[in-house]
Structures are given as structure tokens and as C-alpha cells.
Amino acid sequence: MSRRIAIQYRESSSFLNRMNPVVKLIWLVFLSALILTFRDYRCEIVLLACGLALFCLTGIRLSTLQGFKFVLMTSVFLGLLQLLFIHEGSTLFGFGGFFITSTGFENALLISSRFFSFVLMGYIFVLTTEPNTFVYALMQVGLPYRFGFSLITALRLIPILTNEAANILYAQLTRGVVYRFTQPGRLIKNIYQFLRVLLISTIKKVDDMVLAMEGRSFGAAPTRTYNRMVGFSKLDVALLVLALVVTSLILIIRKDFAL
């Protein structure tokens, strides 16, 4: 069986990977706003098609992503709810007490597409944006570096603490701890012990990291230089302008055609 692809950054030379993360974030916000703005199912389907086309640029098969089936099922489920419970509009199909109306059908397409489009945008951003580069890019457009490095140290600590948590759990299991839902008192005690050890371990790690950061003059000056520059290419600038133009056009069209 082929392995599922985790929802995390994947190195690639795709156009999306090369985009400045800040520009990508602006596009993400812009597209998300569009998805929420439209109330016409045809527009949502067009946006979904655009999202799918963008996703193709990542070079990843959507069906191989971890959790994809769940997302698909949720999307279908949300659509089914609209079909079953919206009874306005003309009847398209009926059987006994059950019938599907045109409004229910359109709403099903709208909601399912909207949900799926949102998830797609998230997938595209996470799969093509290296978190470290993203934070550096944010710092270089004005995010105070103290906030930026809180994000970077958090990113650094996540895999370390995941590993620590596994070790602590193993240590409990080797000493006869069994997690049983049938014994809630014992279960709570075991969870408390686990969390206490994890907390102590985390505090020690953070203490060491503070020493390491202070020892390298972190916070000593109000500004800092950057060896890693996350620049804006001509394409990035063009995409920013495009975002502005498309937003303006859509606002005009929407006003005129009430989509």
C-alpha cells in the first residue's frame, strides 16, 4: 500500500513553493474572502476548479494526502444536509416523503464546494510553504522579531516535545501503567503524571533555550540584520498587483450582477 502524504511542507521547485510566503498568504486571505463572499453555487464551483488547478501545481495527488477521505466525506455530508433539510424551490426529485428541491440542490453544491475550497487553500499553503521561511518573510515585512522567533522556537520545539512525549509514555508503560477508560480515577492519575513530567521536561528545555538565546545577544538591540533574505521576485510583485486588480473587478461585478 502506498504511504499517505502528511499535511506538512514538502520540498519542491514548483511555482507555489518559490512564491514569497507573504504574497502567498495575501492570496490565501484573498481567495478565502472570495469563497465566503459568493452566494452563487456556480461561482463557488469555478473557485473550486481554480483551487484544484492550483493544487495540481504542487505535483501531489490529492487522494494520497493524509485525511483526504475524511475531508471528502465531510464535504459530501455537508451537501447531503442541505439536500435533506432545505425544501424551498421547485421539486427536482421525490420519493414518498423524501424530495430534493432546486434550492436544496444549489445549496448543497454551494456549501460542499465552499468547504472543499477552504480545505484546498489550506493544503496548498501548508504543503508549499516552509514554516521557517514564512516567519522570516513576515519579520522582514515588519513583524517584530521577538514575535517571529517565538514562532520559530515553537516550530523547533514541536518535534522535540513530540519525541519527549513518546518517551515519557514509553517510560510509563514499561513501569506497568495501563491507560484504561474503565477506570477513570486511575486514568486521570496517569494522565496527570504524564503531563507533569512533560511539563517539567518542557520547562527545562525552554530554560536551556533561553540561556542559548541570551548568550547570543537575542533582544539586546531593538533591530537585527537578516542573513536569510526572503525577497520579492518580479512575479511576486505581479501577483500582488493581480490580487488588487481581481479584487476590484470582483467587487464591481458583484455589485452589478449580485452574485
Binding site: 504511504r3 514554516p131 521557517n132 522570516y136 522567533f149 520559530i152 522556537t153 516550530l155 523547533r156 518535534p159 522535540i160 519527549e164 518517551n167 515519557i168 514509553y170 517510560a171 510509563q172 508503560l173 514499561t174 513501569r175 506497568g176 501503567v177 495501563v178 503524571q193 504524564f194 507533569r196 513530567v197 517539567i200 521536561s201 527545562k204 528545555k205 536551556d208 533555550m209 540561556l211 542559548a212 538565546m213 541570551e214 548568550g215 547570543r216 545577544s217 537575542f218 533582544g219 539586546a220 538591540a221 533591530t223 537585527r224 540584520t225 537578516y226 542573513n227 536569510r228 533574505m229
Partner: protein, 490 residues
Amino acid sequence: MIKVKNLTFRYSGSAGNTLDGIDLRIKRGEWVVIQGDSGCGKTTLALALSGFLYNLFKGDYQGHIEVNGAVLEEMDLAEAASRVYLVQQNPENQFCTLTVRDELAFGLENRNIAPGEIQKRIHQALVIVHGETLLDANLLELSGGEKQKVAIATAIAMQPEVLILDEPTSNLDPVSSKIVFKALNELKKLSGMTVVIIEHKIQQLRCYHPRILKMQSGKIIDLEEKESAVINKGKRNKKKEKLARVNWEPILELENFVVKRQDQPIISIHDLVVYPGEIIALMGPNGSGKSTFLLGLLGLLEREFKLGRILQRELRSLKTFDITQNCGYVFQNPDHQLFCSSLEEELFMAARNFDRNRALSKEDASALLSAFRLNTDLWLHPQQLSFGQKKRLNLASVLVHKPRLLLLDEIFIGQDQKNIDASLEILEDYVNQTQAAVLIVNHYIQALRKHADRVLFFDRGEVLFDVPLSESAKTFSHYGLHDYMPENEQ
């Protein structure tokens, strides 16, 4: 030059002085090694020399330190750090970014150094530690030795006047340790930087002719190199009386045993049999699969095998809970396995969970703690113990439920030879009394040579050799693994 005058420090809430009237002079460009027993104040001295103790720690601080004429206590932390750089024991804990390039640049960026200069310094630092190929690597993917190289390169890039390293090789195998020491020697030759290393591995450093200082109970007691060369000489292999193994059933039998992580095979063992009374040294480079093997044995990681038996019971039919009733496991990090709020509770935790040996009295518990040189109140919180004491408590707490197989994963890191010997003596008695067997992961055979029976050497996920201790020196030599041999046999 570093001048330390009458330096005394007592941590807030502590009864005694951790540093006790230290007077010390270190010349510019000198390479100094500080050794001493666990808990004698070495790390506190390192924190003092780097300015952290005065600036960040609560306690009673007396005396003063001068670095090249400037008084350390009169500087703020940023200034002190620009003169003296401290590399901590675990490099993993001191990285602040995600890639080697960002890590090396981090401190320089904080000092507002221009990118062009940063790149020059990064290149120079990596050349000194022979780590040029690591430049674009992700820190999480580096081996232990590579991480330590990056930590040292980070220090070099900062161009401090003094570099202090707190047990930089404690988690490393002998080959990686040697690479780190070579890199430091290269640094000394090229830059003339003053280097202070806190280190137990004096033998490996001796060829670089450092000045060796010894600390004891917060004092520098010996400024001349006198004794370290004779450590363990004359004690060689006082072989114990072995248990007669005739007709004894094996404790562990494995055939075609493979342990996986994320579906990938990490370690593969063709066949292995462990008999009662055996103490087996499990050796091999960092990342060779030693810990993975032990976790797989307990069913904590995915494994496949043709034959697997523990105490004649099929491994396939046993859950982790069943296996651990007869297998005691001690992990590398003592803090990961201290779950209770008193020493007594900690000692009895596994026994209570397994419903075994409940008859053990408080007197027995006190006696067990004393045997492990833990002469403290049973109601003390385990987190109040020192690092070495925690490690000994971990070991004591797995013996109470009388497991027949002990799996000990690098439990001697940060322990001095006196404590290692004391622990091994107890283990040997335990093995003789209970007909148990022990698998000890350790990088240095020197520490185990009075007690081990066999050496099982892992390399790249396979057993390279499995030989009696008496043949280990010859076998190490045969495979060109000279760094793993005791110094006097290399």
C-alpha cells in the same frame, strides 16, 4: 586571561555552597579541562565563567571574575556573552532555529552584523569543524556528532575570547567524540581562543596536552595533572564468579528480529540468545539502532520476527504490560521516568502496578536507596535530586519488582566512575541473586569491563559482532574500531 578570585555561590534554597572559594587563573589561548565527580559544581562554574550565574540565577554570589582585564560582574549579559561563549551539554536544547545556516547566523544577526560578514564567518566556522557540507541541513536531521559540531561552529562564528564547553561529548559515541575534540584542537591552533572543557573523557583528550583541573565539592583541588592517567589501571578485569549456566533456559531468544520506525526497518538481528547471569554491553555508533532494538523488544515499536521468546513465553502472545513485568527498562533521560512525588512512591511504582513484591518494607526501601548512594529522606521529591542521583533512583526503582531482564539505555551518561562502579556492583549482585540478565547500552567498554560478559556491537542497523568480553579488544581491532577500545589497549 581569566582570573577567578574567591568565587563562592550558593543557590537560593540550597543548604551548602555549590562553588566554594574558587581561585583560578587561565592564560590566554590555554586549553583547560575541568573534571570532577557528578554534582561537584562543574556546570555551575561554567555558568559563572560565562556570566549567566551572576545575571540569571538566584543565590548568594561572592567573589569576582575578570576576563582579559574586564570584570564580568560589571557587564550586562549581552556583553559578557560577547566575550565568553558557553556550549551546553545537549546541543539539541540550545538551537533556536531550524536550519544550520540560520543557527550559525542567529547570534550574529542579533548583533546587527552585515549579511556579507555573517556569510564569511559562517563559512570560516564550518571549515574549522569540517562541517562545510552541513550548511543547508535541517537541524532535526543531524546526528549527535553533527549537532555538536554545529553548536561549536556557532560559538566560533561569534568569535568570543573564551569558549566554554559543558560535557560536549557526553551523548556521543567514541568516533563522534574524537571528531569533536579534533575540531576543538583545530580551533585552538587556528584562532588561539581560550578553551575550557568540562569533560569526563580525559583519556581521549590527553593527546592534545590540555591543562587538567579537578573539582571536588565546589573547590578546585588540584591544578596539576597527577592522577587521571592511572584511572582504572591495575583494576583490569577482576572477573567475577559466573553463575553455572548448565541446563539453564535462556531468558531471551530472538531470530530474524526486525524493529521498524514509520514502516522502515531500523534494526535487524539474525539471532540472539541471552542467558541468566549475563551482563551484555550493547555498543555501536549513535543511530545504529540500539535504543530502537530495546523499545522493539518491549513491543513499544513495530517489529517482525521469526522467533521471539522471553522466559520461554512467545513474544507474539505478550503485550507490553506482560513483557515489562519481567523486563525493567531504564531510559537515557532520568526526568522522563520520575512520575511520583516522593522517593518511596517512585521506588514502589512499578511493583504496585505489577502487583509484585508488595511486602517490601520502608527499611528495605531505605537500604536499597543507600546501596545506590542515595542516603536521603524517603519523602523527598525526586525532582530535588541531582542529575546523577536521579539516574541512580531510576535504576533502583526498576529492581523492586524483580524483573529477570534489565534493559539499561545509556544510564551512565554524566556519572563519575565511582557511581558507575557502585551501580554495577549492585547490578551484579542482583543478577546473581535473581538469575537475571542485563543488556546495557554504553559507548565505552572501559566503564563495564569489570562486569560485562559479552559485547554486542551494532552498526548501521545490524549486529556487527557478538563476542565474549575477553575477545572484544581483538575484535574491535579487527574491525578498525580503535576508538571503542580502552586506551591502554589501543
